[in-house]
Symmetry: C2
Subunit: 397 residues, 2 copies
């Protein structure tokens, strides 16, 4: 190899690397955006000289998603960015409390991902950018220099007639030891799938950090897909890349709950689990809380720990499925058989607040002991990350 070639190739390689990264023709602007300052203030930047109006829609903007967005009111609660003379739009927030935040830009009325923040997660049919303001509980959501577990994206054979995808977190040391571990089954909401708890839920980070701090026992976490008609999350199944729609198929019809134990059996067979009730927990958010309540009540010998996060309790038309029938007696029976922990949490602005209150009143009427955490806010990830990080340290003690 000729030495003369080296310098030329190095330069070429530099440009090629740029070209390679940009072969997808997305031209990155040479600026940063969502810059988190030390005081927790965050600066957003966008070069858009031809735009007439640029706004930020973020969950730090004091917008109540439930109220505003059910009605689809784009523009409600948006923050206007200001344009400098070079066409750069900017906005800096006041110092924000520690949290994982999400946002998009609205450029002349069109919701777009910040082209200078390559980090965005899909939640149901849409992407939004993310950033973290560290400190306090939000440090649990970060990747820290601690021992890390493994995330397995894998498939199990389902009695639905096709394989179905799930995500399995195994704690640090799983690969190199012969140890057996307890298992938490962690279920998503109606708009979610098996990837939901991995992305906005920050499950791997929360578990890594709580385990490293000695606050949680090493455990396996199984994140399944609660829509039985789906093989996998959109884009991960044989349907290819598509935009999901609600209610394309039955989702709270008792089917998922009735065949759930096939997942437990698969996990017990293929992972080194402690395959008994007191080493098994089930929890979920919204529809996943509804699933958790019904699966655990219908399998009273299976789960020693139950977590209902903003659970969609009370949406129970018993005629839909035998799984939903006679729930009150099933729960009484479940407690009689022994529950180590029955945990429930909800935000005081959650639209499910009253149905949860009613469910707790039912538990109270039978003198059934549960743990209850009421937080501020509504039916949002902020609360679900709190609930997960409060629930996990209580497990398998």
């Amino acid at each position: 190899m000729k030495k003369a070639l080296i310098a030329a190739l190095s330069i070429a390689l530099f440009f090629s690397a740029k070209a390679s990264a940009q072969q997808n023709l997305f031209i990155s602007q040479d600026i940063e955006s969502a810059i988190v300052a030390e005081d927790g203030s965050v600066t957003f930047n966008l070069i858009a000289p031809k735009a007439r109006k640029v706004q930020i829609a973020g969950d730090f903007a004091g917008v109540k998603a439930e109220a505003d967005h059910v009605a689809g009111l784009v523009g409600a609660g948006m923050i206007d960015m200001t344009q400098d003379k070079d066409g750069m739009w900017t906005y800096t927030t006041a110092p924000l409390p520690p949290e994982l935040y999400s946002y998009t830009f609205i450029v002349d009325g069109v919701s777009v991902i910040d082209p200078n923040n390559p980090h965005a997660y899909r939640d149901f049919a849409t992407l939004s950018n993310v950033f973290i303001v560290g400190g306090g509980r939000a440090d649990l959501f970060k990747v820290n220099k601690v021992n890390h577990g493994t995330l397995h994206s894998c498939w199990y054979p389902s009695s639905m007639g096709y394989d179905r995808r799930m995500n399995v977190y195994t704690p640090y040391g799983y690969e190199s030891s012969k140890q057996k571990y307890p298992v938490l089954y962690l279920l998503h909401g109606m708009g979610g799938d098996e990837d939901e708890w991995v992305r906005f839920g920050r499950t791997c980070q929360i578990l890594d950090n709580l385990i490293a701090q000695g606050k949680a026992k090493p455990m396996i976490v199984v994140m399944t897909n609660g829509h039985t008609a789906m093989e996998a999350a959109p884009g991960e199944s044989s349907l290819g890349y598509y935009k999901p729609h609600y209610f394309e198929s039955g989702t709270m019809d008792g089917e998922f709950e009735s065949i759930f134990m096939e997942i437990v059996n698969y996990v017990d067979k293929n992972y080194r689990t402690i395959a008994k009730k007191d080493s098994r927990a089930i929890a979920g958010l919204s529809m996943g809380g509804f699933h958790s309540a019904h699966i655990s009540a219908n399998n009273p010998d299976a789960f020693g720990y139950v977590g209902l996060f903003s659970a969609a309790l009370g949406v129970t038309d018993p005629s839909i499925s035998p799984i939903y029938q006679d729930m009150e007696n099933k729960v009484v029976n479940q407690f009689a058989k022994g529950v180590k922990l029955y945990w429930t949490g909800i935000g005081n602005e959650d639209f499910l607040y009253n149905s949860n209150k009613e469910f707790r009143a039912m538990l109270d009427s039978h003198n059934l002991k549960y743990t209850y955490l009421e937080t501020s806010g509504g039916h949002v990830w902020t609360n679900w990350r709190i609930y997960l990080s409060e629930f996990v340290p209580l497990l398998f003690k």
Copy 2:
């Protein structure tokens, strides 16, 4: 639970699900985009009544990424969309050949992700949307109803002083059997990281499909991060979410190659591998091809199979590292010790075409037997997916 509550809650739950999905305030438009028709034509849609110009930048648009994008010529090779009277911008392509394509929209000069296609992958610092036109080789890139392997996103202890992240594909049956498997180490390019082959590379899908068709042996594929200064891909490390820049730290300085065998040792210890040369392959694209050539030549007893995909050959200043010194003799020695397959492929428009030609001439001058595939096109994913799907069936036979 009162029956009267049920209907109300069902309705509330419906809206809540929408609110929940949209809590991130990204308002999805009620249209589809990147709709692939049966003839392979693709229709893009965007509601942007206030926009003055909307374009598509896609790798199906005949744009030469290397030529145009090194210079940052936004607008070169873009396709104009047309606006109807309701403000909806649309464009339908001619039937496209089977392939995984990527694109973004350019709205009044700003590159944005299609808000109606929730599927986008990050490549280096930018996101772009994806879709697949099926048929032919592109069917290998799809999730099909075949047995699926598992993707492990995991961490290994590095002599760099911190744990480093990698992705490990294990074939279908790995969890439920005691079988040992051969291993392919698959390395990324300069702008990439451990996630690159998983996303645009479609490694899990290509392996699942080739194995299901009986065209490839079940094997483990290890996808590492070739930038030793990085713990993990941007957003997956303790640096948090950030926008990556090139050349922040040494990347082709011999360090990765010199400590690579620690990864092999870790994998052999923690996965059920056949830990011998003829059951071990190494391949990579661009910088990863450069790494593969040097790692295999410096460890002539370690790898029976070598794959150089558009490899950055010839960028070897021997003074940088002993790893790069005396390469010609090392390669001669490597062949003398026995190589089952030395595979190299490049596109006829690749900027590395000539340095690859020179490398092959060096091999020829010593009568060293290699397999060579020349394709059309440049330094792009289209070629790297071809090379992977040609290379894998030749392994471990």
